[in-house]
C-alpha cells in the first residue's frame, strides 16, 4: 500500500514533467513552422505563453505556503515585483548610451530628473551574476525579515494576510515616488538586450519562453522534493494543527520562516523572467489586487496540489487574455463569478475534480 501511494504521487509528478516538456518542445516546433501552416504558433503567442509560465511559477510559490503551510499570503506579488525590478535594473544598465539622452551611466529617467550620479543601490546591477543573486536575495531577505517578526509573534490567519497586503501596498506607494530612483510612476522600460541578445528578436523571445518553462520545471521539482520529505509532512502538520506540532517538538516558526523565504525567492525568480518578456516593470505590479488574483488562480486550480496551481495560473490567465480582448468590461465579473463558483462547487479546485474522477473509477 505504501508503494502504491508513493507510486501515485510519483506518477503525477512524472506526468507533469512529461506534459510540460512536451508542451515546450511542441510549441517550439510549431513556432518554426511556416506561417501559412495551420499549426503555426506566432511570436505573439510565444511571449504570451512565456508570461503565463512565469505566472505559473508565482502560483506554485503561493501554493507552497498557502496550500501546504496554511499561510495565506495576500502580498506575494510584492516579491514577484521585487525580482522583476532587480531584473529591470540590470536591463536598464544594459541600455548603456543608447538611451534618449545618450548618457552612458545614467538611465534616462535619472537624466530627466537632473541626477548626476548613479545611486549606490544601482551599483553592481550592470553585472548579470550580481543581478541574478539579487533577484533571489532581495525578495528572500524581505520575506525573512517580515517572517521573522510575524511568525515569532505568532501572527496567524487573517491578521497575517492583512499584514502581507499592507506590505505590498506600502511598497507600491514607495515605488511610485521618483525619489526612490527606480523610475517612479513609469517604472523601468525601453529594454534592449539581455546578455547581449536583442530582446526584440524572435529567437530571444522563444529562448525566454523556454527559460521560463525550464524554471517552472525546476521550481516544481524542488517543491516536490521538499513536500515529499519529512519537512513536507511537518509543514502539512503545521497547516492542520499548529499547536499540536509544537507539542511534539517542532519549531513551527523556523519551518514557516524557511518555506516563506524560499517561496518569496521563487516569486522573485518568476518576476525576473516576466520583466524581459513584457518589456516593462512599474509600481502597478505591487498593487494588492495582483496578489489577490494569484490566490484566486491557486484556489481555482486547486490549493494543495502543485499542478493545480500551475493549471489555475495558466487557465485563468488564458481566460483573462481572451476576455479582455472580447469583453473587456466583463472580465472582473467573470473572475469573481469563477471564484465564487469554484468555492461553492469545487472547494478543491480543478485538481480536486481530477482526484474525484480517479477515486471514482478505482474500486476503493
Amino acid at each position: 500500500m505504501s508503494i502504491q501511494r508513493t507510486h501515485q504521487s510519483r506518477t503525477s509528478t512524472l506526468l507533469f514533467v512529461i506534459v510540460l516538456m512536451a508542451t515546450l518542445i511542441g510549441v517550439t516546433v510549431c513556432n518554426q513552422l511556416p506561417e501559412s501552416h495551420p499549426l503555426h504558433v506566432g511570436n505573439y503567442m510565444i511571449t504570451l505563453l512565456g508570461k503565463y509560465l512565469t505566472y505559473a511559477i508565482l502560483a506554485v510559490s503561493v501554493d507552497l505556503v498557502w496550500g501546504y503551510l496554511g499561510i495565506l499570503s495576500l502580498g506575494h506579488a510584492a516579491f514577484f515585483a521585487l525580482g522583476g525590478y532587480a531584473m529591470g535594473m540590470h536591463l536598464m544598465r544594459q541600455i548603456g548610451d543608447r538611451g534618449v539622452y545618450g548618457n552612458p551611466d545614467l538611465p534616462d529617467f535619472m537624466v530627466f530628473l537632473n541626477w548626476t550620479e548613479l545611486p549606490w543601490y544601482w551599483l553592481g546591477f550592470d553585472n548579470f551574476a550580481f543581478t541574478a543573486l539579487m533577484i533571489l536575495l532581495v525578495p528572500g531577505l524581505l520575506a525573512f525579515v517580515f517572517g521573522w517578526f510575524a511568525f515569532r509573534s505568532r501572527v496567524n490567519g487573517v491578521y497575517l494576510s492583512i499584514i502581507t497586503q499592507a506590505l505590498t501596498y506600502a511598497l507600491m506607494l514607495a515605488f511610485f515616488r521618483n525619489e526612490m530612483g527606480l523610475g517612479g510612476n513609469n517604472g523601468l522600460t525601453d529594454f534592449r538586450e539581455l546578455l547581449g541578445f536583442d530582446l526584440r528578436s524572435d529567437e530571444v523571445r522563444l529562448g525566454l519562453f523556454l527559460a521560463s518553462g525550464i524554471a517552472l520545471l525546476f521550481v516544481y521539482l524542488l517543491c516536490n522534493v521538499i513536500l515529499r520529505s519529512r519537512l513536507g509532512k511537518v509543514s502539512i502538520a503545521i497547516r492542520d494543527a499548529e499547536d499540536r506540532t509544537r507539542f511534539i517538538g517542532y519549531r513551527v516558526e523556523h519551518v514557516k520562516l524557511a518555506l516563506f523565504t524560499l517561496s518569496a525567492m521563487i516569486a522573485g525568480l518568476a518576476g525576473a523572467l516576466y520583466v524581459p518578456q513584457v518589456g516593462i516593470i512599474n509600481p502597478g505590479e505591487f498593487s494588492p489586487l495582483n496578489s489577490i488574483e494569484v490566490v484566486v488562480w491557486v484556489a481555482i486550480g486547486g490549493r494543495g496540489t502543485l499542478y493545480g496551481a500551475v493549471l489555475g495560473a495558466i487557465g485563468v490567465n488564458y481566460a483573462k487574455t481572451w476576455f479582455t480582448g472580447a469583453y473587456p468590461e466583463a472580465w472582473l465579473f467573470a473572475l469573481g463569478l469563477l471564484f465564487v463558483l469554484v468555492t461553492l462547487v469545487l472547494p478543491k479546485g480543478v485538481a480536486g475534480l481530477f482526484k474525484r474522477a480517479k477515486t471514482g473509477t478505482s474500486p476503493s
Partner: protein, 283 residues
C-alpha cells in the same frame, strides 16, 4: 505469543518482551539525581481577574505515576499548560529536574527535553497517514535541515510498523488519520506519545470515550510505563483513577487541597465536602 497473554490482550502490555519505549531516553541537561522530576513552586495564574491557579506547589517524583483530580475549573488543564509552555504563570517557578527551567522555554523546546502531552480531545494530524503521524512524533532530530534530509532506514521502518501493530493500526498504516474512529485516534495518539518517548507524560483524560475494555488496556499501559517515565494523569472517571492505584492529588480553586492514596483521599473530610461530597465514595 505466550499462551497466557491470549489473543484479545493488547500486545502493548505483553510481558515477554522489552519494548524500546520502556527504556527511558537520555537528555544531556536533565538532572534527576534528587529523585524529583517536576517541581512547580508557588505558581499563580490570573486570567483577566479569574484566579486559575493560586500559590500551587506540586512535585512529581522520577518514575512516579500520579493522578490529578478536581472539579471543573480547579486548574488541572492550566497546570498542564504551564508545564508544557502554553501558559506563562504570573509568579512561581517550574523546573524539570534540577537544571531545566521550564519557564524559559517554548513549547517545542519543552517537548524536546522530554515532556509529552496527550490532549483530552484526540488530536492527530488528520490529513497525514497513520505512518506519517508516528514518524513525525518519533523522538529524534527537530533540526530543520536534518528533518528535510531525514530518511527512513530499515530499523526505523520496522520500529514504526511494530508500533502500528502494537496499537492495532497496522491495517490502516497508510490511510489518513482523519478516517479513523474515535477510539482508533485515541490509540494513535498514545502511539505518537510513545514514539516521542518523553520522560514526563501529561495525560489529559485518557479514558474519555473509551470502552471498559480499552480502559483496562490503558490502565495496564500506563502502569507499565510508570517506573521509567513519570506520568501525570488527569481524569474525571473515578473507577479509572482507582484502577491506576496511584497517589492522588486533589486540586481545588487553583491549589492543592489534599494528597495521598485513593483511600486517604476518600476519607479526607475536605475532599468529601468540596468534591466528592455528593457522590457515594464508599464503593
Amino acid at each position: 505469543m505466550s499462551q497466557s497473554s491470549g489473543t484479545q490482550q493488547n500486545p502493548l502490555i505483553r510481558r515477554d518482551r522489552v519494548f524500546e519505549f520502556l527504556i527511558p531516553r537520555q537528555v544531556d541537561d536533565l538532572d534527576l539525581s534528587h529523585g524529583t522530576a517536576l517541581y512547580l513552586e508557588d505558581i499563580s495564574v490570573n486570567f483577566d481577574g479569574f484566579q486559575a491557579i493560586s500559590g500551587l506547589n506540586f512535585y512529581v517524583n522520577k518514575g512516579e505515576l500520579r493522578c490529578l483530580i478536581g472539579p471543573n475549573g480547579a486548574g488541572k488543564t492550566t497546570l498542564m499548560d504551564i508545564v508544557t509552555g502554553k501558559t506563562r504563570p504570573d509568579t512561581g517557578s517550574a523546573w524539570f529536574g534540577q537544571r531545566i527551567n521550564l519557564l524559559r522555554m517554548d513549547e517545542a523546546e519543552i517537548a524536546q527535553v522530554g515532556i509529552g502531552r496527550k490532549f483530552q480531545k484526540p488530536s492527530v494530524f488528520e490529513n497525514l497517514s497513520v505512518f506519517d503521524n508516528l514518524e513525525l512524533s518519533m523522538a529524534g532530530t527537530r533540526n530543520l535541515w536534518k528533518t528535510f534530509r531525514a530518511k527512513i532506514d530499515g530499523q526505523t521502518l520496522s520500529r514504526l510498523e511494530s508500533m502500528a501493530e502494537t496499537i492495532n493500526l497496522i491495517d490502516h498504516l497508510h490511510s489518513p488519520a482523519g478516517m479513523l474512529s474515535h477510539g482508533q485516534k485515541q490509540w494513535l495518539e498514545i502511539g505518537m506519545l510513545i514514539m516521542q518517548n518523553p520522560l514526563l507524560l501529561l495525560v489529559d483524560e485518557p479514558a474519555a470515550g473509551m470502552t471498559h475494555q480499552e480502559m483496562d488496556q490503558t490502565v495496564e499501559l500506563l502502569t507499565a510505563l510508570a517506573g521509567d517515565h513519570a506520568i501525570v494523569v488527569v481524569e474525571h472517571d473515578m473507577d479509572f483513577v482507582r484502577a491506576l492505584n496511584a497517589p492522588v492529588t486533589v486540586l481545588h480553586q487553583g491549589s492543592v487541597l489534599a494528597e495521598g492514596s485513593m483511600a486517604e483521599i476518600q476519607a479526607n473530610p475536605d475532599v468529601m465536602r468540596v468534591y466528592l461530597g455528593t457522590e457515594d465514595v464508599s464503593c
